[in-house]
């Protein structure tokens, strides 16, 4: 799932009904049900937003329900078939096309300009456009950077953050040498199935995961570029001697926990992952910074996967107009700035000044223009919700179970099959 979470302050204190009003309320007694994902919006943002919205719409109650990540597919599927689906939902950007193509979402083409359409983040805008129509509003995006320990870099004699792959590898080796005494130390924590990082490397080589031919998509993992990207991934794993398991992704165990142990020099992650690590180990706050994932070409940064979410109105919503008003309010500069402050690239504002105020946000903003997305086809959602061939490819190649050609060939066949629906 693409989406990132936006709360540096992860406290999900405002769960459940955030409003003071009751279901019946006064006035026309309408209830606007809003589903955002766990960790998406800082509580400060939603509290202010819902207060302002309810003040502007007397008699309307916002029923804010934070959705958990486990089982969200089932939850969304069933909710959309109910008589009273939620009025505003959050969809991962790689997931939106599927829901749009199945006509389960309200067509917002007529409201684009009212929702700040001229400032929509390009990557997210593409992800919610289907057949020339807009089926949502960009919410926020984020991308991965290399989060590193400034103190360890300094101690190892690394004076500047790496800007090319070669410098990156050199930095890894210096860190390793400087910390050779600690058996638990890892210069770079890189689990075997961190496939968003792999995307960066493949794109940096000029390749892609899939190519479009008319309306059909086929896998492109067997191209020389994709193979070169995979090879670089292996090189990183080998050089860094990372102790991360080769058969899981960054979620098992949570790489932020590993980083939080203080024995890791770098990790490729999202700002909220650093926030999680800091929560476990507050000392890290003053000792960390980030740099964009280096490119093989000097003077450039590697393309990054732009993960994020869109907000959409289910076609069955009973309160379409209110929901549109809600989106409109959220798209205003005030709330977009709050999103940026929370550490993500805002969806409907090109102003990322607030984001660049901390070192990680700065690196994020630096690489965001080079953001790319996975194929915008309705069938891509199944790649992530099901068995992701890219992960299998990584594990098979890194553990030596398959050769480069075999790993990429098998994964490509599986990907093509899933993309065909």
């Amino acid at each position: 799932m693409a989406a990132g979470a936006a709360a540096l302050a992860v406290a999900v204190a405002g769960c459940g009904t955030s409003s003071s009003g009751s279901d019946s309320g006064s006035g026309d007694g309408k209830t606007l049900t809003v589903w955002l994902m766990d960790g998406s919006a800082p509580a400060a943002l939603t509290d202010a937003l819902h207060k302002e919205f309810q003040d502007a719409h007397p008699g309307v109650t916002v029923k804010y329900e934070v959705q958990k990540w486990g089982g969200i597919q089932e939850k969304l599927t069933t909710a959309l078939t109910s008589n009273t689906p939620p009025d505003v939902i959050e969809l991962g950007n790689t997931q939106t096309a599927k829901f749009a193509a199945e006509e389960t979402l309200e067509d917002l083409s007529g409201d684009v300009s009212a929702l700040g359409g001229d400032q929509w983040l390009a990557g997210l805008k593409d992800s919610l456009t289907w057949d020339g129509k807009s089926y949502g509003m960009p919410f926020y995006a984020s991308n991965r950077t290399v989060i590193y320990r400034t103190d360890l870099f300094e101690a190892a004699g690394i004076t500047a953050a790496p800007t090319t792959r070669d410098e990156w590898v050199a930095a890894i080796e210096k860190l390793k040498a400087a910390n050779a005494a600690d058996p638990d130390f890892q210069a770079l924590y890189l689990p075997g199935q961190s496939w968003y990082a792999l995307l960066s490397f493949i794109w940096d080589e000029g390749g892609d995961v899939a190519k479009q031919d008319g309306s059909a998509w086929t896998g492109a993992l067997d191209t020389p570029q994709a193979k070169a990207g995979l090879d670089f991934y292996k090189k990183l794993v080998d050089v860094s001697g990372t102790k991360a398991p080769k058969d899981t992704d960054e979620a098992t165990p949570q790489q932020m926990e590993v980083f939080g142990t203080g024995k890791v020099g770098m990790m490729i992650g999202l700002p909220w992952e650093l926030a999680g690590a800091v929560k476990a180990n507050p000392d890290l706050a003053s000792k960390t910074a980030a740099f964009p994932i280096p490119s093989k070409t000097a003077g450039k940064t590697a393309p990054v996967f732009l993960g994020g979410s869109n907000l959409a109105i289910p076609a069955g919503s009973q309160n379409t107009d209110l929901a549109k008003d809600y989106l409109k309010l959220l798209s205003s500069k005030k709330y977009q700035d709050m999103l940026a402050e929370g550490g993500s690239v805002p969806g409907t504002s090109t102003d990322t000044a607030k984001l660049a105020t901390n070192p990680v946000g700065k690196a994020l903003a630096e690489s965001a223009p080079n953001g790319k997305v996975t194929p915008t086809t309705p069938t891509w959602a199944a790649v992530e919700a099901g068995q992701n061939p890219l992960k299998d490819m990584l594990t098979a190649y890194l553990t030596g179970a398959k050769s480069l050609d075999q790993a990429t060939g098998d994964a490509n066949a599986a990907l093509t099959k899933t993309l065909a629906g």
Binding site: G16, K68, E74, A79, S82, T261
Partner: protein, 284 residues
């Protein structure tokens, strides 16, 4: 010790010692994951991921339990889960017993068909029924209401309860009831005074099974209930998963809390069971 003497004197005893030793090893195997769950919950975050050998926690903290205990909604979810589970189990055992008695004791047309129904109903693919059941609850206007879960858990555990209880009723000699009837009891009284107490253990075994099933159910609880104040414990527990993974420490501590009510339920019904057996033994 002298092996010859030992063998001669005590073959049975050494066999028993061996059996006990094997049993303890097996017990370790079954308890280990639970131990590991609690041990992980007690570890401070910095010790969670270490290459050191930590079969025994290197250091211990209560932070994870505090996190779990104070995570919003714990007590409310616990209450919801208890209500839903107990109602469903009660209904399943009572209705199951009502069905078990004729299936075991009476002769009537279509009996075999009913037995088959109890069996075949257990073949139904529970997860695959999510969408039709959801639509059904929608049409009954039970979405987002706890009775929907009570109904579902009741229905899902019922065939098992009815069928198993039928086996238990079968096992109680009919002569006992008949003897009571000769003594002047009515048929109902004979059943209540003689058979029912003897069914105690069977009802315990059955209800523990139903309890564990309902207590752990996640998919329907997640899909049917939106309001956070009505969520059940498994859904609350899933809140320890984010898109960055599972918070090991918190989830393990929460799981330990989650498991406690099952043990308590078991211990309560266990005592009732012993009473039932004693009563049965006296009468029998």
């Amino acid at each position: 010790m002298n092996p010859a003497v030992n063998r001669a004197v005590n073959p049975a005893k050494s066999k028993k010692v061996a059996a006990n030793a094997v049993a303890l090893v097996v017990a370790l195997f079954f308890a280990f994951p639970t131990y590991w769950m609690v041990a992980t919950a007690l570890k401070p975050r910095k010790d969670m991921l270490t290459s050191e050998y930590d079969l025994l926690p290197l250091s211990v903290t209560g932070t994870n339990f505090a996190t779990a205990w104070t995570k919003p909604g714990f007590l409310q979810s616990l209450g919801n889960s208890l209500v839903v589970t107990l109602l469903a189990v009660l209904a399943a055992v009572v209705v199951g017993l009502l069905a078990a008695v004729p299936l075991a004791r009476m002769r009537f047309r279509g009996r075999k068909g009913f037995v088959m129904l109890m069996l075949v109903a257990q073949m139904a693919p529970f997860e695959a029924l999510l969408i039709p059941v959801f639509l059904m609850m929608r049409d009954l206007d039970l979405l987002d209401k706890l009775p929907s879960l009570v109904l579902i858990y009741f229905a899902v555990t019922l065939p098992f309860c009815a069928w198993t209880l039928r086996g238990f009723v079968n096992g109680i000699p009919l002569e006992l009831e008949e003897a009571a009837q000769v003594d002047g009891c009515s048929r109902w009284e004979a059943f209540r005074r003689v058979t029912l107490p003897l069914l105690g253990p069977g009802m315990v075994a059955t209800s523990v099974f139903a309890f564990v099933t309902a207590w752990n159910e996640f998919l329907y609880a997640l899909s049917l209930i939106n309001d956070q104040s009505r969520q059940t414990l498994p859904v609350w527990l899933s809140g320890f998963q984010s898109q960055f993974g599972t918070d090991w420490g918190g989830a393990m501590a929460a799981s330990a809390l989650f498991t406690l009510p099952v043990l308590v339920f078991f211990l309560i019904v266990q005592r009732k069971m012993v009473i039932g057996v004693t009563a049965g033994a006296v009468k029998g």
